[in-house]
Symmetry: C2
Subunit: 353 residues, 2 copies
DNA sequence: AACAAAATGATATACGTCTATCAAAATTGA
DNA sequence: TCAATTTTGATAGACGTATATCATTTTGTT
């Protein structure tokens, strides 16, 4: 059996002070003599007192008010992420979580910093933002943090000193993983790899490319195609490259606009090995139909779950719960999650009769 | 802003009954006239009342008492799983979770059912068991469930009618995934695949083998080696097979005893492609050193997290939270999680001053 | 020693639920 | 219609914490 968890009254009794004084210590209200402070802290340690967060929240009728700032637009990945957040929002409402989604035009640091500046720190317990690594954004984040609002970055990071946490994958590792898969498919022959990205200036794309190059070894890496994350551009540029370089054995697409990539491949009778990023409806279909081989995904469901957990721990001012790292997940045709947007937790039947 | 969540008092007022009557309805205490019952239920629906679980647990000084029944022994996988549970146990103690681990000798249905029979239903709010699919076990589980204790299966399942949930991977999908990886490594040449498993009678191994065969297509599948999950046996049998079949291009090990597999490969100058199951210290090292190519893992951290969440929902008698499916995870050398047993994704930062 | 300032203690209320008790009202049966 | 039964209402205490108030004690200063 578990012994009853110690309460703050237990701590006060053990320290030989009143409940009020113990409360002054643990809630840092000041006006406590150094001696009392030390005794209370000693008792906290001795008894292993941990604040009962449920009781604390109840007493304050606390609501966790979190804002998630996502890029605006119709991008399939962030569209899915918004769906995931919406599902969580409804689930978490009765547990007193108020999740709000705010959008800001993609790739625009000035507008993003304005959006962040428009958030009222007094109405917030935490912010998660898909960051753009620019000085205005860093400043806007620092203003929030200075006002006591914890900020974590989501999917796209700022420097480690400028946020209270990062939930997302390491993009160099994603690139290395892609390279490893390409090597696995070229155990007995040389590879000629065509990299496609949105823009050389996009930091996450650059990191992926760097990781790719590191692990690719002696295999050949062609010049990158910049597709601006636009399907039409990707389609024409890729078609052209495939015509000019029939020796290509693998394609790694680091950005978005993959609907165009799929269209470019669909007509051809033979195709190279293909790896791309993010499991979204059109990439899923392409994988199921055998038009591509591998999808590297960052599991947005898991990212949102961890984001809420982390924001909550930050709001409660307690050490973050250890969570499994979010690693680039490798999907092939056979280990895809069940199709419905909001994932189900059970294996798709039939396996265990 | 969020409107305040309705309380049971709000429901009572809306229904025009006293708090006591509303309470009688929602907590099914009986002695309520049909008319009152209907009105309260209508008000619950109208206001969207959801019980505040935190307040309820506080009022009852509730502790969630869960037991996890694992196979006994030094198996690296279950050893790791126990470490993971222990880490969670400490974390969850202040939140009034009492996680107990009970072990039972591996592969012994009779002893497992005895172990289950030895659990006192009155001292328990839920059980998770690594099941053995045998009638005695099913009966023991049914006795627990009949006594009001929810039981979920972990890693190894019973039939869907005999438990309140299953947390683990679908093993046929794991086998299919392995086959897909083998195919990816044989895009331009035929594969000759050597399957290794613990015993043909082990259901999860059988499922993996079936999945493998389904996806392997025209490639050659050799006769299985039975290694009894024992490193020494695996080592000698594999060495022998490699000597007799130099044409082998891939090995898929579905069971344990992989330390022997690694020893058998370590001496050789060339080796086939190798896929095996479960990320444990020795398999991790082999992957990092390039002795094997792929590890298929079931993420025990994630399984334990979901297990606790599911048991809690069952104990609270509320619909299970949607959780992302646990899919066979593909690890290559580059997307391994951070090495420390209990994974942490963040440096243990200082929080807000 | 006298006084202000700082520290402490005692206590009350609130959060939303569960549980229990007792009295009052409504319904049922004969 | 009267008694027995069922149903309902009102209310109080407990869970552990946060917050506030006010009186009292201790400390520091000159």
């Amino acid at each position: 059996m578990v012994n009853r968890q110690p309460t703050l009254s237990d701590v006060a009794r053990h320290a030989g002070v009143s409940y009020a004084t113990a409360d002054r210590v643990v809630n840092r209200r000041g006006n406590v003599a150094a001696k009392s402070l030390a005794r209370v802290e000693a008792s906290v340690a001795a008894l292993g007192y941990v604040r009962n967060v449920a009781a604390a929240n109840l007493s304050q009728s606390r609501t966790y008010r979190f804002v998630m700032v996502l890029p605006e637009g119709t991008n399939a990945f962030f569209g899915h992420m918004r769906d995931v957040i919406e599902a969580q929002r409804e689930r978490l409402l009765p547990e007193r979580f108020d999740l709000q989604v705010v959008t800001s035009p993609a790739f625009d640091p000035a507008l993003l910093s304005e959006t962040l500046a428009g958030l009222d720190p007094d109405m917030l317990d935490g912010v998660a933002v898909v960051a753009i690594d620019a000085s205005e954004v860093v400043e806007a984040v620092q203003r929030l943090r200075g006002a006591g609002v914890p900020v974590i970055t989501l999917v796209s990071d700022l420097g480690p000193d400028h946020r209270d946490g990062y939930i997302g994958i390491a993009n160099d590792i994603a690139g290395r993983t892609a390279a490893r898969m390409i090597r696995l498919a070229h155990l007995t022959r040389p590879a000629v790899v065509l990299p496609i990205l949105g823009a050389r200036t996009a930091r996450d794309h650059g990191d992926r490319l760097a990781g790719l190059a590191e692990v690719l070894g002696d295999h050949t890496l062609l010049d990158v195609i910049e597709g601006q994350d636009r399907p039409d551009l990707v389609e024409t540029k890729l078609s052209d490259a495939l015509d000019r370089h029939p020796e290509i054995t693998a394609i790694y697409s680091m950005g978005a606009g993959n609907a165009g990539l799929i269209r470019a491949l669909d007509g051809r009778e033979t195709r190279p090995m293909v790896i791309l990023h993010e499991l979204v409806p059109h990439s899923r279909i392409a994988l199921e139909q055998g038009l591509i081989d591998v999808i590297i995904d960052q599991r947005p469901e898991e990212e949102i779950r961890q984001t809420v957990a982390r924001l909550r721990d930050l709001a409660d001012r307690r050490p973050p719960a250890p969570e499994p790292a979010i690693l680039p997940t490798i999907y092939v045709k056979d280990n895809l999650p069940p199709p419905h947007g909001a994932a189900s937790d059970m294996p798709p039947e039939g396996d265990h009769p």
